[in-house]
Symmetry: C2
Subunit: 420 residues, 2 copies
């Protein structure tokens, strides 16, 4: 599947340009269009932050009918906390894209990421949209041009794809995302419903922002598409945390062009598509954690046998969000006391006398007591690019996984002086 | 009052020695005794972490009758996650102190702070207790010897004192505390009741641990004393966060010798004593925040006009716990978008269109929009040793204050390799 790229699903074209919004001279405006007659079936989830950006407010409205024709995005400026002018600017992005692509303004979903509290430089944005729309394509170079336009402090592009059969038809599903800081997504449904199945409630939770764009050429009714995206989000994007700071702009959008001819309608096809979607979203979520600002390793916190799905998620999230735990992981320090104590203050059922903690497969704590282990060996194992914290609570039958990263001096460097 | 020290209240003696528990050659075992006939009237609050250390379990039992004769403490080892042997060791510390001081084991409250998951080196601990008990005094040098024995990564001693009149009697109230990392106390009453009046619920929350010891020569009935300590704790120790990691060992103890002859009994004397106690505890809490690991400044987050005391506390706490906010504060970066967005994901009522945010007295955000300000001037003002974030929610009439510190590379250095 190495030949797949973001625009591999039939029916989409995109482009991206540098419009001068970001200081760093990398693309910062992108346009994507679905060429299927009538546009794409569309689903989206948005930040649950009460302080949400103008493009989120506009996006919720424009996706409400389950149909979209285009996406227009910029990086370098979040268009958040920008009042009425910000809202007008987000709409203006849609209006211009709609004119250029010959569709309705309501069929364009805007997206922005970058600094909060500054009005968009609309001349640059408009020029960027015109330039991007003038050079749309469906090949890999256009896919990358669009992809680059959503990046901010990311050090890597994040891409995942799957190609699978539904009946006799071959379906392609792809996704790209961005996010390295201000990552603690708590995405909610279009209508604001919490997606907390098995995950931390929306109590804690990015300027970095998470943006994810998913494309498929399957034919999926909008209502089904929304349900599938929400289910996948709870288990993926809402289970990643870098700094537990829920952004004003977090957005994930899924467009289905229907151009493959494969219909996702009966139970079997829904299950197949759902599994692929969850896999893609999980893959992207893991890539976000791995590319966390200053991160040197991807950390999986697995909590097993908790009292409920939600409590398993809360324990995993509390461990993943402890700066003390994250610093120890950075230093390859098997300081398991910090992990067990984090579980203890998660505020949900936890009994250290029943629990077993493994670090990189080595049991370090069981039944309220330390288990003797070779600290040098475990520390060496912790130097890997991927780290597994496995906490068995032995209280119930609920499990959860949260992905995070270690906490380094570079995180401080990156974030102590974002403005300059 | 510069002449006051921890042992200024009549009726107490203490001592401290280096027993070889800590690698750093500073005192690590301390003993304190109340010489009043029958001992001291005693109150205590303990961590609400479900993973609590052996000395916390023993301490809860020993203070339950509202009376204590002595305190025995060590640093360098938390005696947490140490199973039954840990519990026996905590009791053994009390037993030896009781023998040496000629009281009951149940009248001794133990305290420990340091690394989690290692059994106490009991030979050293016993030798330390003998040495400390053999040299007890009530002068300043003994006060400092005891004080030093509770410190770990603290760079400064933390002390506060007040002398005031109750009727014709002069009462002295003093306190010392320790804590620089693993600081997110969520102290609960002896019986485990949450003390969340106006503060964040016990959802998040220290290896560093917060230990506070308060002494007075007022005569206060135990039940009154406990109520006063709990009320003061909610507004002080439970309102400080360095890394939001609630320790397994957090403990605050208040002993009243009654030796001044001043009785805290009628409403007027209770109010006077309560005000002094809250002032001392608040002063100590601020000293903890100011001495946070790697911290360069004390940050006060004041949230005003929130919907309820609890919601005001949750918003303040969410801002204070955001790594993104703390890094910006470290860099003197007036990145107010991070502060407003943190309020937005606190999970309680907040409306950016009503809110006003001031940084060091300068309004930077009001009514959903940025307020133009001189960034260089505000940044220069943020370089001060004390920083005030003032968020007016304009939703209700509830206020809260949380103290924290900035987040620097030194925090990572200190915590990435604690073991070595």
């Amino acid at each position: 599947m190495s030949q797949l790229h973001f625009l591999s699903p039939s029916g989409f074209r995109a482009g991206g340009v540098y419009a001068g919004i970001k200081q760093k001279k990398t693309n910062d405006v992108g346009v994507l269009v679905c060429d299927a007659p009538g546009g794409a079936s569309a689903a989206a989830v948005f930040t649950s932050n009460k302080v949400f950006a103008a493009p989120v407010a506009v996006g919720r409205e424009h996706v409400a009918d389950g149909s979209l024709r285009a996406i227009v995005i910029n990086s370098g400026n979040a268009n958040a906390c920008t009042g009425r002018q910000g809202h007008r600017d987000a709409l203006s992005m849609c209006t211009l894209a709609a004119q250029l692509l010959d569709c309705d303004r309501d069929d364009v979903l805007p997206g922005s990421t970058g600094i909060i509290g500054h009005l968009l430089p609309m001349e640059k944005v408009h020029a960027g949209i015109r330039a991007a729309a003038a050079d749309l394509g469906s090949d890999e170079s256009h896919a990358l041009a669009f992809n680059d336009a959503i990046l901010t402090t990311d050090t890597k592009r994040k891409f995942a794809a799957a190609r699978f059969k539904l009946g006799r038809q071959v379906v392609t599903l792809t996704g790209i995302c961005k996010g390295a800081g201000m990552i603690g997504p708590r995405l909610a449904g279009r209508d604001g419903r919490t997606l907390s199945i098995g995950r931390a409630p929306a109590k804690r939770g990015a300027q970095g922002t998470m943006l994810a764009y998913l494309l498929t050429d399957a034919d999926v009714p909008a209502r089904t598409l929304q349900g599938l995206l929400e289910a996948a989000t709870a288990l993926s994007f809402n289970s990643v945390t870098i700094d537990n700071h829920t952004s004003t702009n977090d957005t994930a959008v899924l467009l289905a062009s229907g151009q493959s001819g494969a219909r996702v309608k009966d139970r079997a096809s829904v299950l197949t598509f759902a599994a692929a979607l969850e896999e893609i979203c999980t893959d992207l979520a893991r890539q976000i954690a791995a590319d966390g600002e200053g991160a040197t390793k991807l950390v999986t916190v697995r909590v097993r046998h908790a009292s409920s799905d939600n409590e398993a998620g809360v324990i995993a999230r509390t461990i993943a969000d402890s700066p003390l735990v994250k610093c120890a992981l950075h230093g390859n320090d098997p300081n398991w006391g910090r992990i067990v104590s984090a579980a203890g203050y998660a505020g949900v059922a936890f009994d250290p006398d029943r629990a077993t903690l493994k670090l990189q497969g080595t049991t370090v704590f069981r039944g309220g007591k330390p288990v003797p282990f070779d600290a040098a060996k475990v520390s060496a194992a912790m130097a890997a690019a991927e780290l597994l914290i496995d906490l068995d609570c032995r209280l119930g039958d609920a499990d959860a996984i949260v992905w995070t990263c270690d906490f380094s001096k570079d995180y401080v460097t990156i974030n102590a002086d974002y403005h300059t």
